[in-house]
């Protein structure tokens, strides 16, 4: 058995000596960016999603498996705006990969390509776990995916100049396809305009801007602090005079506070997928936004509101 370490060393050396694969290795913090990277890069990229739709991306452990994946990545694609601040900086320091450090060409934040909403005017932890660079849940508005795709294509071209035209074509193809989907969704979503909702966490300002809905309150007393019975009772009081259609939660949030409130009001408890995989129906980018609309439209009475 004395040769076991030697065999391991040889195996590792062989792995290290393998020729670099042609595909651009993308480490995506969230499933939607893994899917978008493939839309833009096609066969030229291989994308790994570090989190699933069932996970709270604010709270991820800097696990060994994630360090190993980031170690070999050529391009990191994350939401940014401090959404991943609780774990990504640790991964970046441990993964020892200069290609994806902040400032390198392989470090890409979707937040850098869109206009951020809810930039705070005061930054104080007494306000809860707020995001000083604006609300980071920008993927809930599908219109944001077009500027992100175009910026991503430029970044991929910078990393892999030989295929620059392919990435640009991929982004254009996506934009074309996406514009027709946006038109279809706008028609589907028309009955939602002006409808009132409450949400578990403040994840939905971009969705509200897209659909013209009003999110009038949150189950969390402050961002990141779990719903308390006192706060839910206060919320219930307010909803008696000013009712809402539905109570929106993400795929990873506890259903019980929503259901408690739904039982005491006429509002429906709604699981609205925040990303791919949050519900089985959200299989890819297109079905994600259809599933969002399915869920929200389910709160309206049949035959129009």
């Amino acid at each position: 058995m004395a040769s076991a370490p030697a065999r391991l060393a040889i195996a590792l050396a062989l792995v290290a000596a393998l020729p670099a694969q042609a595909a651009l290795k993308v480490f995506a913090c969230e499933p939607e960016w893994a899917a978008l990277a493939v839309e833009v890069g096609g066969d030229l990229v291989s994308a790994y999603a570090a989190t699933t739709g069932r996970q709270d991306v604010h709270q991820i452990q800097a696990r060994p498996s994630l360090i190993a994946k980031l170690r070999s990545a050529d391009l990191l694609v994350c939401t940014g705006a401090e959404l991943e601040v609780g774990w990504l900086p640790m991964l970046l320091r441990q993964a020892a990969n200069p290609r994806v450090q902040p400032g390198a060409a392989g470090y890409f934040e979707a937040a850098s390509a869109v206009t951020m909403l809810e930039l705070p005017t005061a930054v104080d932890r007494a306000l809860g776990d707020i995001h000083p660079y604006g609300n980071p849940h920008l993927q809930t508005d599908p219109r944001n995916l077009i500027p992100v795709a175009l910026a991503l294509a430029k970044r991929m071209a910078a990393l892999d100049g030989a295929h620059a035209a392919d990435y640009a074509r991929g982004a254009q193809r996506f934009e074309q396809r996406w514009r027709s989907q946006l038109a279809r969704w706008a028609a589907r979503a028309a009955p939602l305009a002006g409808q009132r909702f409450v949400a578990h966490h403040n994840s939905w300002p971009y969705l509200a801007a897209w659909l013209g809905i009003d999110v009038v309150g949150f189950l969390e007393p402050k961002p990141g602090i779990p719903p308390s019975s006192t706060h839910l009772a206060q919320l219930l009081d307010g909803l008696e005079s000013q009712p809402v259609r539905g109570i929106v939660r993400s795929g990873y949030e506890d259903a019980r506070p929503s259901e408690w409130l739904a039982q005491r009001t006429g509002a429906r408890a709604l699981l609205v997928p925040q990303t791919i995989g949050a519900v089985p129906a959200a299989k890819d980018l297109t079905s994600l936004y259809d599933a969002m609309l399915d869920s929200l439209l389910g709160a309206l009475p049949p035959g129009g509101g």
Partner: protein
């Protein structure tokens, strides 16, 4: 409250720049990330903590169960930032009170590379060694109010020293990390900066991965080679009050295992974390003993073999609530020869054990209140301990390691 000082013009400018997508985000806008950890406690001990003993072990400095009554364990100031695209730097200073006087202790001050190719990282300065699982973690990140007894016995809390660390992450999907450190040999279990100020060496390896979305694990192995020259030993014998110094070799093996479970990988919602470490050490060398009554020092030889392990499980049953159970056990087999009078170092008949139960509540991830009960059988007379503690972190949002 005046909030105007919370948004200085520089920060606003940075926010506007970021809103316009002008620069990528780091954990701070322009200044280094600054955070302050406060850790205060109220403790009750059935035994006098000042008379703490761990029979069979040469204790390092400041090892013990803490004080009775109210105590501010320490205030920890952490400053960190990317220096430039090549380096990341951190300073951790502990501000503590010692007999009514404020003292600042340098816990860590190091620079780490960010831009080396092929998975290599070099860290240089004073740092917590990367051996073991718990060694690199600061007290505020521990799951209990105190360190495992084995860490107190073998590292006087944790192994930290000045030197250089080289680590390599393998380009494999299974996480594999190998590393080594060369250290000055000033800190326990080394002493006296032997080998020309390069008195300690360590080696470590880590292996880890996931099993589905709900399980993750890490295995580690560590080795510490330290040279001690004139390491002073606290011998609690009021009758003779000898001054004891040990010079010799200290060699340690460590193995650690961590397994974490949480439904769908939502650690913050519900989780169970099991961790265990086993440390095994051999020390051999010379003892020099000075009795106040004798004019010449007494010389002897020392050879010791010691084991220590802890195993703990921490269950988070609701987002803000955790409960944890930990078991510690140590044993020693020491031989002292040549001394004219026994000084207790060979006293290895008692195997120290401790059982600890804790429950804690975290209103947010920045504040934690903990109640801990322990039955500490470090010495033959069992100490019953109760600790009520808070840990608060102010300022920058530090990312925690696995």
């Amino acid at each position: 409250m005046d909030t105007s000082n919370l948004r200085p013009p520089a920060l606003c400018a940075a926010l506007l720049a970021l809103a316009a997508g002008a620069q990528p985000l780091t954990s701070n806008a322009l200044n280094p990330a600054l955070s302050l950890i406060l850790d205060a406690r109220l403790a009750s001990h059935s035994n006098d903590p000042a008379a703490y003993q761990l029979p069979g072990f040469q204790l390092g400095p400041e090892v013990g169960p803490g004080e009775r009554g109210f105590a501010l364990s320490e205030a920890e100031l952490v400053v960190s930032a990317n220096v430039d695209e090549w380096f990341y730097g951190t300073l951790v200073a502990a501000i503590a009170e010692d007999g009514g006087e404020g003292v600042i202790e340098l816990e860590e001050a190091w620079l780490q590379t960010l831009a080396l190719p092929s998975g290599f990282t070099v860290k240089a300065g004073k740092f917590f060694s990367r051996i073991g699982y718990l060694n690199e973690k600061h007290p505020h990140a521990w799951d209990f109010a105190d360190a495992p007894v084995a860490y107190d016995a073998f590292f006087a809390g944790n192994l930290k020293d000045t030197g250089v660390q080289l680590r390599w992450v393998a380009p494999t999907d299974l996480y594999l990390e190998l590393g080594l450190e060369a250290l000055s040999g000033e800190s326990f279990p080394a002493a006296g900066r032997d080998r020309g100020g390069k008195g300690s060496h360590t080696l470590f390896a880590k292996l880890g991965g996931d099993l589905g979305a709900s399980h993750s694990w890490q295995l580690g192995a560590s080795r510490v080679d330290a040279r001690a020259v004139g390491r002073t030993i606290e011998v609690d014998d009021p009758a003779v009050e000898p001054e004891v110094a040990f010079s010799g070799d200290s060699r340690l093996w460590g193995f650690d295992f961590v397994w974490k479970w949480s439904p769908d990988g939502n650690y913050q919602a519900r989780s169970l974390v099991f961790s265990a470490e086993w440390l095994q050490r051999e020390e051999s060398g010379d003892l020099e003993v000075r009795f106040p009554s004798a004019s010449l020092p007494d010389a002897g030889a020392y050879a010791g073999e010691q084991d220590g392990l802890y195993a703990q499980a921490v269950y988070r049953w609701r987002p803000q609530w955790r409960v944890g159970l930990r078991y510690d056990r140590l044993s020693a087999d020491n031989a002292v020869t040549g001394l004219s009078a026994p000084i207790g170092l060979a006293d290895d008949a008692h195997a120290p054990t401790r059982t600890t139960l804790m429950v804690d509540y975290s209103h947010t991830e920045f504040s934690r209140i903990r109640l801990q009960l322990a039955r500490d059988g470090s010495s033959p007379a069992t100490d019953h301990q109760l600790v009520l503690q808070y840990v608060a972190s102010l300022g920058a949002h530090g990312a925690h390691q696995y």
